[in-house]
């Protein structure tokens, strides 16, 4: 039903008034000639209101003559009449055409590059590689060579396992899968030593294969051989082996933190002002005139690319600049507070380095007091296995 109404609207129809004495005859003749009438309504005994399609209206005239009826057009509805209205407005049509043409032209370019899947890799570095290969914002889609760009990234970066470039609309999505760092695996059949990976004092040596060169209480430095990859026998002589085993040692982690007693704290007044600026590629147009009213303020910039649809990015962007006013406030910390602050900072940093926290043997805190600042050194003593394999090179 609604489809029929819509179809009639697209094709255009007329609301007509038929006046005459033989209206039934008129209806039947129309029916016989397959002229569609709808919404017929009798107003008075001699007047009929009806809707009729545009093309059928021309054929109606013969029937009207036969039945001696008169017709009057009351209303014109539908798209053909709307188009007819705009035929005279040529500039409007021209601008509409230009508008559509520019949108079509713009859709042939890449206006946004999105890099996904990166955790460790810096997105800017990938961007730079892309730019070298002619794959950048503003290139024609047909000229952008995705294969070349992919090859270039994979050649230059070892830490990228897979690259895929997907162009959707004006948006290019560069999907990157990072490669895990490969541990250097030494073949079981190759000869190797066990070497210290950290400085420390040996607390336990357990050599499964090979000759232990250190014993409990020895101080080792990074790189020292702990278990050598050879065995000496009375009769067999020196025989090289693949050394295995575990060496535990006490390792120290230390972290120094300085906290000044005089500190400046920002106190936001709550006043903010927002400004906008328009970006066209790298060209920036400020939409504001004055500099900030505030004396001291933090600036937060938010950049947003304009898009028509979800994947149709335009070459324009809006930058929203928010200025937050603050007052500077000087605080003089108590020595105890400053010390706690410093210790907390240092402990946080150390905790990031230590893998197994249950093996912390003891903590030491050294405090250095001065009038201006407090310096704290936190030292952790941790039991760790420190051996790593290293190939024997002959």
């Amino acid at each position: 039903m609604y489809l029929k109404v819509l179809l009639n609207y697209i094709l255009g129809y007329l609301n007509i008034e038929i006046e005459g004495y033989y209206i039934e005859k008129f209806i039947n003749l129309c029916n016989n000639k397959k002229i569609a009438l709808w919404n017929l309504k009798r107003e008075k005994t001699t007047i009929l209101n009806a809707n009729i399609g545009i093309t059928d209206f021309k054929e109606i005239r013969k029937i009207l003559k036969k039945t001696k009826c008169r017709v009057k057009i009351k209303n014109k509805k539908g798209l053909p009449f709307i188009f007819n209205k705009y035929k005279k407005r040529k500039i409007f049509l021209l601008l509409l055409a230009i508008c559509i043409a520019t949108i079509i032209a713009l859709s042939n370019f890449i206006w946004n590059i999105e890099i996904t899947g990166t955790n460790k890799i810096n997105k800017d570095e990938i961007m730079q590689i892309l730019e070298e290969t002619n794959f950048k914002v503003g290139t024609l889609k047909s000229k952008a060579d995705t294969k070349e760009a992919i090859n270039k990234i994979r050649l230059e970066r070892d830490d990228v396992a897979w690259v895929g470039i997907d162009i959707k609309g004006t948006n290019a999505v560069v999907e990157i899968v990072e490669a895990d760092e490969k541990p250097e695996i030494i073949n079981e059949e190759e000869y190797c030593n066990l070497v210290a990976s950290k400085d420390g004092i040996i607390s336990k040596v357990n050599a499964a294969n090979g000759t232990p060169l250190v014993k409990e209480g020895d101080v080792v430095k990074k790189g020292d051989i702990l278990v050598a990859g050879w065995l000496e026998g009375k009769y067999t002589g020196t025989r090289y082996v693949h050394a295995t085993g575990s060496v535990e040692a006490r390792v120290w982690y230390s972290q120094k933190e300085k906290v000044p007693l005089k500190q400046i704290e920002k106190e936001y007044t709550g006043k903010t002002e927002t400004k906008y600026s328009l970006n066209i590629n790298n060209f920036k147009i400020n939409l504001y005139k004055r500099l900030s009213n505030f004396e001291k303020y933090d600036t937060i910039e938010e950049y947003k690319k304009l898009q028509l649809f979800s994947d149709f990015y335009l070459p324009f962007g809006l930058t929203k600049i928010t200025n937050k006013e603050y007052n500077e406030k000087e605080i003089i910390l108590q020595k105890e507070d400053a010390k706690n602050q410093a210790v907390n900072l240092a402990e946080e940093k150390i905790n990031e380095q230590i893998k197994d926290k249950s093996k912390i043997l003891n903590k030491q805190i050294k405090v250095n007091n001065t009038d201006e600042y407090i310096e704290v050194e936190v030292v952790y003593e941790v039991l760790e296995t420190i051996e790593t394999k290293e190939k024997i090179v002959f």
């Binding site: 039934e24 209806i27 009438l37 709808w38 919404n39 309504k41 005994t45």
Partner: protein, 100 residues
Amino acid sequence: MRNRKRYKKGNKFNKLLEMPKEIYSNEPKITVTGFHELLIENYKSVLEYEEFYVRINTYIGIININGFNLVLNEMSEDDLLITGKIDGIDFETIVDEEEE
């Protein structure tokens, strides 16, 4: 006489296949939905049309519809949809000589 020739009475084959009657024969099918909508299939012509009275010719007789504000909403060759407040429907059967 021409009309009577066009009147089709279903044969046994169609009855055996349980075809809908309005398709194989020319008998009209009248569907009344509520009191405001009436659909006539297999009609021949509109004999009279007033706001309060519609007289429709079919192959086996005449259908009279009384009501208020009757509007012929949709018209095609076979179907006719009438909307408006319907008060009553009555029929005038044309006596068929063959049946007598």
